[in-house]
Symmetry: C2
Subunit: 482 residues, 2 copies
């Protein structure tokens, strides 16, 4: 695998080609099935069958050359039936590694219906924490059956990972760390490592413990290379290391990895004994998953929405969101209903009211985005919140005056009604102030209440800017125009 | 720094406390200035002055104990004046490291007005690529003046990084890599490393080159520890390494780091000679920056929107977005204007039309989010696009029928008008089909045209669901109801 501009594109092209081949294979199989069903086994069917088998072998070999992550990438982009065919062409000993790189949904599709023994065989070559990761996405009964079929030692480790609630460091930690005694010499450590080779991936430092087994420092691997063999570990180690407890939140770990540029960090129990480690690759995965999840959550979808989930499942996943929005939109529409008399007397109001509501929503969403960023970066203490609040109101006043004047002018040109254009401009200004206030308060309050500000804020905001937008505009109109 | 649940919280508390102290210091300075202005220097002012100096020293010491990233965190959350005070308390030799961890906006605030010589002094302790990173956020003339004040060797490296366009691997690469000859023995390599210690951070592997200096493999540092000293590099190295060219897109590098769990990778020129390296920490930074940027771009804001930017700057940053939205909202409102006669005859239409438009927007945004995720993950080839398109239409039909029926029923209960409720249900169904189509096509087309699908899709979608929503609903009403 190279990353040449053309090389990288070519690599991508190979992956796309593998997908196409799978789909061709699928249609050929269908044709063959068809032939067999229609005419029994005839000579030309034997030929067709041979071609099919040849194609299958070629594809199998192609997949065997891909990195497991690349095979997973190919699988992700295939419809379910083709997915199953491609999966059957992955060599059994690599299936675990491939499964590890797929999304939860594809995983479930691939192992659905497999007997527990087959699943156990697929996961057996993996590390305990990876097994736990895979088993976590299986139904409870299947998980137990698979667990029973593993080695005793592996079972214990897997169970211990599964015992930690998702989102904690314990649930993401790996067991492939190496500890050394603080009073050992570098030479002794080197001998230990020679016996343990190859070292676990991402081993850039060894965890140093004292006699009672408590973490007391980190020994960078490079010290073994650059320092004298008779030096003692405790003189070469870095003290005061960043470490985590098993029940620390994973986000805390992610923040520390980002802030202090870590590659790996020890995980300890309450006695400060090392029980595992977290590595930067699981952190990168977590950050990515978060970014993906947030984008979907903003529109009321969940992370495991699959391109190829059955129609009904997909439709149902969107019901709740649309239902809530229908409800708030309907409430806003009742505000309009209350002013029906006013609208009949001046029908221009009907055309202008959605404009007032919609700009409020857009401006408010800008405020929401800034607040959510501030909350995520930990920039918003009480002081800053107060300051930001008055600034957002000032910006709303500023922009409300500007765009209100623009809308008022255009209204005057179209409807030749000065009072109407003043009312629409005033309504715009006021609704932008509402938008700024709700845009500030909604995410902050949701966060305080322990809810996800990303998911709820836009619903609350839109309900406010629509409802209040209609109310302010039509209310002013009822007072001053009719 | 520990990461104990209480420890981590306490750490955060320390950072917050430092911020409060800075703000207290600021107000005390103001008080003192006031006293001096009002009464000249009197005895109690001398005391006040002493207290002030004491506080200043305490804060200085506190900041000196923080990790540079933590100092940056403290600075980020302070208003500009307090930021300047805190910055003046950071020891000169640490200022470069702190600056490196701040956002672009805070950076610009902190160095604004500093003479070039002072900036040069701040950045001098840093690596060339970090200096380039800092200089890139300065105005052209300042950048040149600072550059002139650096060592000749450093100047050359910094200039070479600055020469690469932002977003390429070359612009992010570091120079602190170590290459070894393929025909050297491990012992020779070890001697080389002892002379070069301490090794650059994140050195988990050495880059192996042949006589002409071309990259031919990677030597994991652990081989030096676990293998015999007389073994040859070329027998111990991993061949076929992942590498990048200087003009590769940074996103390609990010993808490869994610997919293959890399810590660092060599960057080569067109002759395959190693000229730099990329490390996982800059990848983590890039991923994070992307996630932050996307969230803001969705609402028309740019990345460097600062909590504490001057009011006018902040307001102006939002003008364009609100202006575009005002324009599309106004176009939609002209659709309503065209049906004024219909609305006057049946004023219930005015109340119901925003509901139809709004649900269309919400449903369409779900489709947009799925398409953008699919595009980002590279899951959407032509085959998949076609499949997704028909699926989205089917879901829209399904949900349109469901929620159309709900809205129709509620309409019937309120207005006792069967024809009206059938029309509103049909309009809802049709508008969801419009939403699904535009929600699919907008991001795909924007991407094909080389534009950012995140920024433009929601504007196009809302324009379509509003305009078409009003048109379909009022059009059907004009045909069948009045």
């Amino acid at each position: 695998m190279t990353a040449h501009p053309s090389g990288q594109n070519q690599h991508h092209h190979h992956l796309e080609k593998a997908r196409t081949q799978v789909i061709e294979l699928l249609s050929r199989q269908a044709v063959e099935r068809d032939l067999v069903l229609r005419a029994g086994s005839r000579k030309q069917d034997v030929v067709a069958s041979l071609v099919l088998r040849q194609q299958q072998t070629a594809l199998e070999q192609r997949l065997a050359q891909f990195h497991p992550a690349d095979v997973a990438f190919v699988l992700e982009g295939l419809p379910p039936e083709a997915q199953r065919i491609a999966w059957s062409l992955v060599r059994p000993e690599r299936r675990g590694a491939v499964l590890l790189e797929t999304s939860d949904v594809v995983r479930r599709t691939l192992v659905a219906g497999l007997p527990a023994e087959d699943i156990a065989q697929v996961v057996r070559p993996l590390d305990s924490e990876d097994i736990a990761d895979l088993l976590a996405s299986l139904p409870d009964d299947v998980r137990l059956k698979v667990l029973e079929r593993l080695d005793q030692a592996e079972q214990t480790e897997v169970r211990s990972v599964l015992a930690f609630p998702p989102g904690t460091v314990g649930a993401e930690m790996a067991f492939d760390f190496i500890t050394v005694q603080e009073d050992a010499s570098l030479e002794t450590v080197q001998q230990l490592l020679r016996r343990r080779k190859p070292l676990p991936p991402h081993t850039t430092q060894l965890f140093v413990v004292n006699r009672p087994g408590e973490l007391c420092g980190l020994l960078p691997l490079q010290k073994l290379v650059t320092e004298e063999p008779d030096a003692l570990v405790k003189d070469m180690m870095t003290t005061d290391p960043v470490f985590f407890f098993t029940d620390d939140r994973l986000e805390q770990a992610v923040q520390s990895f980002e802030r202090y540029n870590l590659i790996s960090a020890p995980v300890v129990n309450l006695h400060r004994q090392v029980v595992g480690r977290v590595t930067v690759d699981s952190v990168v995965e977590t950050i990515n998953a978060q970014a993906q999840r947030q984008r979907l959550e903003e529109v009321g979808l969940s992370e495991d929405t699959d391109l190829y989930a059955p129609l009904r499942t997909s439709a149902r996943a969107r019901w709740q969101w649309l239902g809530i929005n229908l409800f708030t939109a309907f409430i806003a529409s009742r505000v309009i209903g209350a002013f029906e008399d006013t609208v009949v007397q001046l029908v221009a109001l009907a055309a202008l009211m959605p404009v007032v509501a919609s700009i409020g929503g857009n401006a408010g969403n800008q405020t929401v985005a800034l607040v959510i960023r501030g909350l995520a970066l930990g920039q918003l203490g009480p002081n800053q919140l107060r300051q930001m609040f008055s600034k957002e109101l000032a910006i709303a006043a500023y922009n409300g005056a500007l765009w209100g004047a623009v809308l008022g002018t255009v209204t005057l040109l179209i409807y030749r009604n000065l009072a109407l254009s003043v009312v629409v401009a005033a309504a715009m200004l006021l609704n932008l102030l509402v938008a700024a206030s709700v845009g500030m308060l909604a995410p902050v309050l949701l966060q305080r209440l322990g809810r996800d500000p990303i998911r709820g804020s836009s619903i609350i905001l839109t309900a406010a800017t629509d409802g209040m937008g209609f109310f302010i505009f039509l209310g002013l109109a009822a007072l001053f125009l009719v």
